[in-house]
Symmetry: C2
Subunit: 410 residues, 2 copies
């Protein structure tokens, strides 16, 4: 392992990173809000295209809103790295862009090292990995791999009612072309995604570790739960006359908290809730809330969700409300390529850790030998403005990625 | 009592009512969303000005965003009727506009009856009675009566960050003039507000009653509760590492439901909740929610709120979250003028009922002899699209208001 770049590389990282600092800042919530095909996303794609072109890479916009920058002729058995440029609402700076920038800088590093790759190399940016705008995470990689029906995807819409098809069109992408891209998928020989660590598992495995290798992505999914009651006046409606959908929704939030104690290793979260119409002096007519649930096992995840939904239904029956549950996405546990993991382990000698976060790597893994590298996050926080990786650690991450690519392109 | 107008009046009511049917419709939530100084509000003010002018009434825009239409020279000891034109988000058609339209039609009726008023008569439309945009209900009547500090009011802002001062300015009203208007207040000798009934008390008092007289408005207030935790990733943050503000907020919703059983006659509602940033895969960094609480007694209301807040604080302590409670408004119980109530009772012979809803009448009552008339709502629902009064009942309401005005202007 050749960790420890000259100081110049810290400068190089800082300079590349500074380009992104102002794009998509969220002045209401702090951090960044960058979502598929929004202004920030368009700016970031332009930035990526410029950066890639400046490096002599060939940029391709694929039919699913993903952008690819090729070093060498695009072709079979390529080594692809990259990540995504979008964020959750009010998210951190690193989740996504760190993998893209590290891909570009790793190519710089390989060139400095005088490496002539025997396989084509690409950096890819996948569309809307967080699902922050259209609700479905890993939208670009799901479309490319055929993991989502393109008709279903085109009809997804953002909170303002803009469909994915319309948003793509406005951004210059023909939505009718969206869908499985087997030729492109077949050209990817290996995929390596570098990402900021999003919890505390890396440091728990080795307090000195700066980089880790991913072993698996736990099963995870999103459920949209709609409780319908009867809108009414908050002052004049006696409590015996109420059908208030907030009550079962609140019971769902607390059930999520309570039930995870019964499912060791599981997490369940309600971070988004939307009473309609949302007036202070109004009993809501309906409430939508979203349940995010995860566990190593998809079966346990489903059982956990059932337990939470059952608590919502019970309260809804008492309140005279109706409940509709829609699964927005469900990703089974993904074990990343074992052989590739062993190869990287031997090369880097760093901890191997699982992750509770979903990634485009998890969507590609069933199709392509896939690996993940994690860079230390000394806040332990992600999906929030406090998410942080030190520049020194990011530089080590770039070097590790360069080592991996150098090994793979031989 | 002269209830039972000729059929022509049903036509007249229908025709006047039809003017408003298309203004401010809420296509997302159904019903209407009309808020102080928004497009719908501006359209409704124009409509009111036109209607009043067509009737030969003199229109005045006062310094607090309220509009007055005078029959006769504005002057002391006037008899004022009216209500408001704004709605809650996704509210019904009647709450507010019914009182305004009934005021105009009652003047038509008095003219048909050949009444020559001995006192000036006016129809008033008060600004933002629901507080749906700037959070403070009865904004116009509060400003006029000095019940809110104008500096505080000017700084109130809507969810998009637009201040009341800026919204007023854009709508052509100089916000620096906002504040107590003692001369105008002194000119009001009697105030009578006609309103759709918002619950089931009228029918409970007399199943055949179409109109009721108001006795009192119960104490009511709004509290904004902010719970601050630590935003984080919904998948990678172990539950022991969480400081999730949704948990205490949900506990608050359920506590409101539970505690009203301990305070007979009280109601408490959470109809509005706003997690920040509100991402599906994000543990919120903070949650704001609004508690609406009401009871005949202000002391009981405060005790109820304390009990709910204490449940929130207890859960917040366990979750490692902080809680800030801000009282946005509090109106003590208002007993409407007893002498005036007796006079109207003798005239109309209809049930006398209290109301759990706030009204501009409640703000004026401490300053001016004030009465309320309620028109039957056969849905029993208010603050929702299902709110409904039959045309036949509305016509009887107009006639009752005309009777009252005729009696008062003698």
């Amino acid at each position: 392992m050749k960790f420890g770049l000259p100081p110049a590389d810290g400068t190089r990282f800082r300079s590349a990173w500074a380009d992104l600092a102002g794009v998509g800042r969220d002045h209401r919530w702090g951090g960044y809000s960058r979502h598929g095909f929004d202004d920030a996303d368009v700016q970031l794609r332009q930035w990526f295209t410029e950066q890639a072109t400046r490096r002599g890479l060939d940029v391709e916009n694929d039919r699913n809103g993903n952008v690819w920058a090729w070093w060498g002729e695009p072709g079979p058995d390529s080594v692809v790295t990259g990540s995504h440029l979008d964020s959750v609402p009010g998210g951190g700076a690193f989740d996504g862009p760190l993998g893209v920038i590290s891909g570009l800088l790793a190519i710089d590093e390989l060139k400095l090292r005088g490496v002539t790759p025997a396989r084509p190399v690409a950096v890819a940016c996948f569309l809307e990995e967080e699902g922050g705008r259209f609700g479905l995470p890993c939208l670009g990689s799901r479309l490319m791999t055929g993991t989502v029906d393109p008709d279903h995807a085109r009809r997804l819409h953002d909170p303002d009612g803009v469909s994915l098809a319309d948003a793509a069109k406005r951004s210059g992408l023909d939505p009718s072309g969206m869908g499985p891209d087997p030729a492109r998928l077949a050209s990817v020989g290996t995929f390596v995604e570098l990402h900021i660590e999003q919890g505390r598992l890396l440091t728990a495995a080795d307090p000195a570790a700066v980089v880790g290798i991913g072993s698996e992505i736990v099963a995870h999914g999103r459920w949209r739960i709609t409780v319908t009651g009867q809108g009414n006046h908050a002052g004049t409606t006696r409590w015996t006359d109420r059908h208030d959908p907030m009550i079962p929704a609140a019971a769902g939030v607390l059930a999520a908290r309570r039930e995870i104690a019964n499912f060791p290793g599981a997490v369940a979260t309600v971070g988004r809730i939307h009473p309609i119409p949302g007036g202070t002096n109004v009993i809501a007519s309906s409430v939508q809330f979203w349940l995010d649930a995860r566990h190593e096992s998809a079966v346990v995840t489903a059982t956990l969700v059932d337990a939470i939904v059952s608590a919502v239904r019970q309260e809804a029956a008492a309140e005279g409300c109706a409940v509709v549950v829609q699964r927005e996405s469900m990703s089974d546990r993904v074990v990343l390529d074992a052989g590739l993991g062993l190869q990287l382990s031997a090369l880097l000698d760093v901890p191997v850790i699982p992750t509770g976060a979903g990634h485009d790597a998890g969507i590609l893994a069933p199709h392509v030998p896939t690996a993940m590298l994690f860079v230390r996050n000394n806040s332990g926080i992600s999906h929030a403005p406090e998410e942080h990786a030190d520049v020194a650690d990011c530089v080590i991450g770039v070097d590790a990625l360069a080592d991996v690519l150098e090994e793979l392109v031989k």
